[in-house]
Point group: C2
């Protein structure tokens, strides 16, 4: 490609609404162009990267036996009403009426449509397993679109949907997709981690997220450096920090702790380390209107230096619909203002849940349910019975790994893929059955598998950039090599050598761009460093006098002189590395 | 590809709503699957054809120097308001509100978005000419979607948009696209015709339509078999059928013609051939409410065997907003009921337009503006002055070609491409300018160029089918070759030979599918004839005894025995043909 036949549009400054580095660099490098809030044109330079992502995804999906098709972007509401997602999906679902007043949605995902295809076209177990995928435009009406392609409204996803005869077979299909995802992210050349995940609203029995590792990531990934345990923060099991509760050594004592509504203040006042304190969080579960179920208050106990995980909390039996209690409710049930609450001596009976670590504590401190007082030397099964124990906290670095093979570490990641075992949640809702060997109808066992194609660009940049711009991994770069001739339009020799090299590289199958725009060297170099092309070759009269060209890799700080004759082989070696 | 790893879903009967052959065959062959009115899933078999269309379009666009990008499917209404199309586009424009109540549309076409890109990113004449294209999902909310992908609501289009510094340069860009289109349709292997077209609502100065020739086409294409003149019915110039008016031989005579409200009846009653009769059509142009412009009635005169072309009629000065006159208006202005109207002796003054052919007539017949009476022997410039003369009729086969190089013929076509010279209609509306050599802002000269990617499938089938199913041209077939083994799962020899041939054909780069489904021969052959794969090879024990396989081309009625060793070369020769 010659630059004058392509479209290059770089900016010195990123627009003010670009908050994160990938958004800034994508705008500055001219990969995308904003059309509206969370809506972008994919400019020619950006589309080249998207196509490289798509090509790798497509190859690996095909290799894994998935079959490509396309589904409508505009989908009838009826299907979404069958599964109840027309109601449940909320404001993120872009709804539209056609000229006849019929309801449609712009696809945010396509479980309903593929299940509709399956229920009419899959008739027999002999057609199973089968896996359909599509790479298409999707739309989610985010409340606050930001971060460019990382949290846009319109984006490109690859979604695959597997159909199987039973759970065991579905899990085989799931494993095939999991392995394909590993190959895909390896081929991207990105550092990534697959973590066990919570299934969330989509339902089903098992799932993993694929994250690109980046300090700027929004998600905490929990992993064990000495084993293969990995999970996201919701799914990571928080074991107690000790496996045994030691014997009490202190008496239960009520102490005056005026003005200490925070555990840190109590800890400091009493000279007791923070991890000997227990914090009390209060949630309420409302009763039914007919009074058959009464309102309950729940006291959750966590070690003072631990964090509640709300998703885990909601999974505790009885707490699915829990909400933060109001101060009024707290005073009514505890007989005390917040800041001095604890499990002993509440005014009304309270449900108590202790985190696993709290259940192992001895001689701990908690509120006395009396303003300006705490209790010290509190001990389970002596001063109060052990309540319900559950995992309700975030893992912390240094916690024991659930597989017993080390301690956990935490790193930040950007979610770019997600694989789910859906089971029969959609096939039951939509009555998608097949006939088994005995001619009996059975619900199809489903899995679904997404990759955020356009999100990959943002994640790749968050992981690979420097002060000059993007540093694309080889597989994703819009061009592999850029030729930067000095005085292309004024030096016959430079022009001839550049054109010869350009033709030779193209003949060798190298994805090369020749910058024939006639820009000054500084501006030209800055553009290509910003755009992030991995390999740069400078062709100048001075070097040519000695038969040399200048090569510099995007991550390198100095150029290497390479003879004209050897340059093609030199580049091929670099690309093969 | 092995059939068991792919998805084949054929139907014996087409659904009742499929009216035309391409729709029926696409449904039966499992290329598409209906999701809603005018909305289809592109099933794996259909998607393969779409990808082949896209690949050819993309290669030729790139070769012609156009640059690929992608535009959002969901576009802000503001841009459409700038050009006025938010109002003008009507009910076909699918409008949607986001969660904040802001207006958006689902792209039916993208002139606004690309002009928005151009006005911000094209700053200098040095960036021109430039041509952007995209291949994407579009949506038009057709009042009555039908004919499958031929008139669906959601479809795939390739649209290109060129930007130039002046009209001459824009016409060069237009010619480059025109030539690329010719190459594209040649590569598709379809019979097609490019015809001059009316620009219609999109505005601008010149355009051509590309039609696939098919008896079932909706459009009439006018062309001259002995020259390169070609136009659609709206743009085809209807010359007078004779170049000279001969001298009168008859007297003007009022004759009694009771009960003859149609020209055919008058012609029969009087024993005068139909082409000596003139028919009178009456249109009204309403006045303004303030009375500054008064209502006018217009009498249009056509030879009785000719047809009015309303688009041409509306181009006549003064008739842009003409509508059919009511019977009441006719009686008021002509003093006579319809059926006996004519240009002589109207009650009130009428504007008259004669078609070019009428202006050349001598001794003709027309209504006498008196019920049950006609005039015969009517002659221009003797009995009445020659009125305004204009081309207001459809061309007929046998009419003289406007280039003077023969007579015109008419054939049916399906519009699949359209190229337009837009000029500055969009750039002026959206203030898209560039700085010329003198640093002065100038409006960008635009062109736009569409191909209906998914529509090509329907058009190709309308041109290429037989009683067994689709007959794909080589370039568009979902697979080039199908291997049909007899008893693949029971005969070791058949399995081995089939697998060997499959591997050998794949190694030779042939797009081959192996039907390993274990279907009976009759069902297997019927499926592949319906799907329309061009080349079939049958592998059976009987033939293998003599070292032979059976080859049959899709258009052939009998098979040819080809030796096992020669089959790959034989197929390569067929594919190269």
């Amino acid at each position: 490609m010659r630059a004058t036949r392509f479209f290059i549009s770089t900016l010195k400054e990123a627009p003010a609404d670009a908050e994160i580095i990938s958004h800034k660099l994508m705008m500055r490098a001219g990969l995308i162009k904003r059309l509206g809030s969370g809506i972008y044109n994919y400019m020619p330079m950006g589309l080249r990267v998207i196509r490289k992502v798509e090509a790798i995804v497509r190859e690996e999906m095909n290799r894994a036996g998935a079959i490509e098709m396309m589904m409508p972007v505009v989908q009838p509401a009826e299907l979404w009403q069958e599964t109840g997602r027309w109601q449940k999906y909320g404001a993120e679902l872009l709804r539209v009426k056609d000229r006849h007043g019929r309801d449609f949605i712009i696809q945010p995902t396509s479980e309903e449509v593929i299940t509709d295809v399956a229920r009419s076209d899959i008739k027999s177990y002999r057609q199973l397993p089968i896996n359909f995928y599509h790479i298409q435009t999707k739309f989610r009406d985010e409340r606050r679109p930001r971060f460019g392609l990382m949290r846009g409204r319109e984006f490109t996803m690859k979604d695959a949907y597997s159909f199987d005869r039973d759970v065991a077979s579905m899990q085989v299909s799931y494993k095939i997709m999991f392995d394909a995802y590993v190959r895909i992210f390896q081929r991207f050349g990105l550092q990534f981690r697959a973590v066990a995940a919570d299934n969330g609203a989509i339902g089903g029995t098992g799932s993993h997220e694929f994250h690109v590792i980046a300090d700027t990531g929004e998600d905490d990934l929990v992993y064990c450096p000495t084993s293969d345990y990995a999970a996201n923060m919701e799914a990571a099991v928080a074991l107690p920090t000790t496996t045994e509760r030691v014997a009490p050594t202190q008496q239960l004592t009520k102490v005056s702790t005026p003005g200490t509504v925070k555990c840190e203040q109590v800890s400091e006042l009493l000279g007791i380390s923070l991890d000997k304190n227990v914090k009390s969080l209060v949630f309420a579960v409302d009763g039914t209107e007919d009074g058959s179920v009464k309102k309950q208050l729940w006291l959750l106990l966590l070690r003072a230096d631990h964090q509640l995980n709300e998703i885990k909390m909601h999974k505790v039996a009885g707490l699915a619909n829990a909400r933060m209690a109001t101060e009024e409710e707290i005073v009514e049930w505890f007989g005390c203002v917040p800041g001095y609450l604890g499990p002993i001596g509440t005014k009304l009976p309270i449900n108590i849940v202790a985190d696993h670590t709290v259940a192992m504590m001895t001689d701990f401190v908690c509120g006395a349910n009396e303003a300006d007082y705490h209790l010290t030397g509190v001990n389970w099964e002596r001063d109060l019975p052990l309540p319900m124990v559950a995992d309700i906290r975030n893992v912390q670095a240094g916690d024991p790994s659930p597989d017993g093979k080390g301690v956990l570490a935490i790193q930040r990641g950007i979610e770019v893929g997600h694989v789910f075992q859906l089971g029969t949640s959609y096939s039951e809702a939509m009555k998608a059955t097949f006939l088994d060997e005995n001619g009996k109808p059975q619900f199809l066992q489903m899995g679904c598998y997404g990759i955020g194609v356009t999100r990959i660009l943002g994640a790749a940049i968050e992981q690979n950039f420097d002060e000059k711009g993007i540093v694309w991994p080889a597989a994703l770069a819009p061009f592999s090599v850029v030729l930067c001739p000095m005085s292309y339009d004024r030096s016959e020799q430079v022009k001839t050598e550049t054109d010869n090299l350009y033709v030779a590289l193209q003949a060798a199958g190298v994805d090369v761009i020749l910058d024939d725009r006639g820009e000054r060297p500084g501006a030209m170099f800055a553009d290509w460093e910003l755009i992030g092309v991995p390999h740069r070759i400078v062709i100048g009269e001075r070097g040519l006098k000695e038969g040399k060209l200048e090569y510099q890799g995007r991550r390198e700080t100095a150029a290497t002189a390479v003879s004209v004759d050897e340059m093609v082989a030199f580049i091929q070696e670099k690309l093969a590395a």
